[in-house]
Amino acid sequence: MQHEYPRNGESTHPSSKKPKLSSKFITESDIRDEFSHHQQRVARINNGSYGSCPDSVLTAQRRWQLQFLRQPDAFYFNVLRDGITASRETIKDLINADHVDEVSLVDNATTAAAIVLQRIGRNFAEGKFQKNDTVLMLHCAFQAVKKSIQAYVTRAGGSVIEVRLPFPVNSEEEIISEFKKSIEEGKSNGRNIRLAIIDHITSMPSVVIPVKELVRICRAEGIEQVFVDAAHAIGSVEVDVKEVGADFYVSNLHKWFFCPPSVAFLYCKKSTSSSDLHHPVVSHEYGNGLPIESAWIGTRDYSSQLVVPAVLEFINRFEGGINGIMKKNHDEVVKMGKMLAESWGTNLGSPPEMSAAMIMVGLPSRLCLHSEEDAVMLRSHLRDRYEVEVPIFHQVYVDREEGVRDKDGFITGYVRISHQLRMGKLAKCFIRNEEAVIKVGEGFHGITCVLPASDVCCISQFLKNRIKGGQGAARKNWNF
């Protein structure tokens, strides 16, 4: 009795079915349907944090999940490895890598950081690195990356150089100049810089970094290895790993590339050292190379890693494919950012050419955002009271840094707005004279909050009063 389990390379996985060829591109109405599972009342302008996934991809994911559950042994032996390889091949082509062996799939950029940094930790433990050898990172690196450096580098005896990037920023030259300065300072203390970690697009505040140039500087300065944390990159800026030239490059696919939570790729340029990279969760495949190790880290749901070809099918329904989507998102987010900055009399955190699908917009100084706690409270308030989801950044000025002013004072807060397709509605926030009026536009009908004139000066005081009155608890908040 012959059974249906594909053997010898055939696959029955859903995305191997040939797509129906259509001369029509996806319509606005199709897009709305694809994201109809989003909470419709919420102005969802924070795609940068957790991304989004269309319905057709979720359906493909479910088929994979059910296929596993239906007969898991056959799936494991006959389907899984080929499915993951197909995803890796898709990504290899997208990012212009030389060889599929350079592409591993992991859960997220945080996992990739742990993989790279765990190896650094081993190098210290095994005497390959000496005490005080250094890792360089941007001061605004993602918090998880900083903690990973603490866990694997500092704990092992290494030291850290933080490069403080200017913000708001006006040109790539400002970043390049700061970066060069920090390396010189680091080297002048006689330190050996073993690894530089550079964001492609910083998280908070969000700015597109001139990575190619910074990698070139690292090479010129003799920094051993470069790791580009491009969590936000794929689907939001062009990704060409050979152009960028780093040793390691990671990007999440669930943020801007429509994959379900969660999947990221870690690119490792072929070299002698890349063979000593290991997934921290060790399983049968230990020693067979990182891509193979990562493809099996024990029994789990691998469906989000298997849908990558299906995601590409979705993307190619758009005119211009991913490039078309990226351009549209960029143009829209810049347009919306400028509109908000003009309404509020504030500024953009970076020029348009240094933003991708996210941009930082200054908040009116009248909101008196004086701390991280204020930023947290305002964010929660916007979510709870106005159904606007947007992360808030508190800008800290140090030493002789010059602040940017609006007509009332220094701008100490920024919102990071994202644009992804047409699924989100936009919040328009105005602050007017004696009244603070927060109005949500584009589809909403004037949800307003009128603050008493006496409270208008300080949002934190206002919110604290609300909290005392039991209208919402302050929550610990992390900006992603």
């Binding site: 056959a74 742990a114 998880a144 049968h284």
Partner: protein
């Protein structure tokens, strides 16, 4: 209105899940496969898959709100359910991770730091049974050996006839290492071994470890919860880990790692580091970056499902055990072979000897036979090659590991019985299959 006559009415007994309902819950399983390998990847009823989807949709609907308001309370609820199930003292002792492989890596990474930071010295040892799961051995190589440690392997007698046989081997191995002056830092002991499968006398093994002054005792109970009795205080280990998707009906995948409260336990870290680093393993594990945590959030609902069965999880365990022993004995009788251990040393799985004429002569043969049974007969079952010992006459070298879970029927085992009988009738031997028959390298 006088309500006493109404309140005196007897509340009807809750109805237990019926066989038809069980059938329906697992009706999506491949209908023509005799699925007698629950020990491999476990199973999940339809109602829990649906519930899991609801959680997934809640996240996708508004992920920021879910992250800030729902995720942590949900994880804490799951951890509390597990804490009660396993009789742990405090919910801080319970972390949820993806699977036992992850838990193993967490504990072994901690040991590696012990070497790096001078708490352990080069040559300090870990002791484990030779049949420890392959992934565990690799993890020991990756973390413990690489950091300078040494491995003591204890042979597991198989077939085995009593707990004493196992305890004796273990004591002998520890005595020998003591004589060699080797310090044993960690013991890794299976609660239920993977292949060949046997229930180990963990409580006694832990006592022996304590007597011998071993620093840490770690129980790998991948097959523990839902399969054998799991009581942390009874067992007394420092670390204990079990999968929830194998025998407790969770969707793939979730496992718990129990760490007895001590000075040491606060120093364990999840290898994937986030902003929660330093807040305790349980908190670190509940956020390891953006991912789908739904499998970990369904645990309270899993308990509801389990409690629809008479006797709850204990009733399920008992019935599974009785059934698998019955089926094992039926097969052994039909083939003229034997069970690999006495009934009291099996759980919901048992090893059944295969007819010697099949000539299972290597691990490769066992993989080939397994694949052949799947492809030609629609039987999914794990096969084990048991190398003959010096001086043995005509030993059985092939065993099947059969599992029994609530969805199994007697027909599944008849199908297997008949498949093997057919192979014997056809004078089949493993050698008749080419080596390339197995896809996997």
């Amino acid at each position: 209105m006088n309500s006493t006559s109404i309140s005196a009415a007897v509340t009807p007994q809750p109805l237990f899940i019926t066989p038809a309902e069980v059938c329906s819950e697992f009706s999506y399983h491949h209908p023509s496969v005799a699925r007698i390998n629950n020990g491999g990847f476990g199973c999940c009823p339809s109602s829990l898959i649906s519930y899991q989807r609801q959680i997934q949709m809640q996240w996708l609907r508004q992920p920021d709100e879910f992250f800030f308001n729902q995720l942590q309370p949900g994880m804490l609820r799951s951890r509390n359910v597990i804490k009660d199930l396993i009789n742990a003292d405090h919910v801080d002792e319970v972390s949820i991770v993806d699977n036992v492989s992850t838990a193993i890596s967490i504990v072994l990474q901690h040991m590696a730091w012990g070497f790096a930071e001078g708490k352990f010295h080069s040559g300090d040892a870990t002791v484990m049974f030779h049949c420890a799961y392959g992934a565990v051995k690799k993890s020991v190589e990756a973390y413990f050996v690489r950091a300078g440690g040494y491995v003591i392997e204890v042979p597991l007698p198989f077939p085995v006839n009593s707990d004493d046989e196992i305890l004796q081997e273990f004591r002998q191995a520890l005595d020998k290492s003591k004589q060699n002056g080797r310090r044993v830092r960690l013991a890794i002991i299976d609660h239920v071994t993977f292949m060949p499968t046997v229930v180990m006398p963990v409580k006694q093994l832990v006592s022996i470890c304590r007597e011998a002054g071993i620093d840490h005792v770690f129980i790998d109970a991948a097959h523990g919860i839902g399969c054998v009795d799991v009581d942390m205080k009874q067992i007394g280990a420092d670390f204990y880990t079990s999968n929830l998707h194998k025998w407790l009906f969770c969707p793939p995948s979730a496992a718990f790692l129990y760490c007895r409260k001590s000075n040491q336990s606060s120093a364990l870290h999840h290898p994937v580091v986030t902003h929660q680093y330093g807040n305790g393993l349980a908190t670190e594990s509940s956020w390891i970056g953006t991912r789908d945590y739904s499998a970990q959030l369904v645990v309270p609902k899993v308990l509801e499902f389990v409690n629809r069965f008479e006797g709850g999880i204990d009733g399920i365990k008992r019935r599974n055990h009785d059934a698998v022993v019955d089926m094992g004995e039926m097969l052994a009788k039909a083939w003229g072979t034997q069970l690999g251990c006495p009934p009291h040393m099996c759980s919901s799985m048992v090893m059944v000897g295969l007819p010697a004429c099949l000539h299972v002569s290597s691990d490769q043969d066992s993989w080939k036979l397994r694949t052949y049974l799947r492809d030609k007969f629609g039987v999914e079952v794990s096969i084990y090659y048991r190398p003959p010992k010096d001086g043995e006459v005509g030993p059985l070298t092939g065993y099947a590991r059969i599992s029994y879970q609530v969805y199994n029927k007697v027909d599944d085992y008849y199908k297997f019985r008949d498949a093997i009988n057919q192979l014997v009738h056809d004078a089949f031997t493993c050698a008749s299959l080419p080596d390339s028959y197995i896809r996997l390298v």
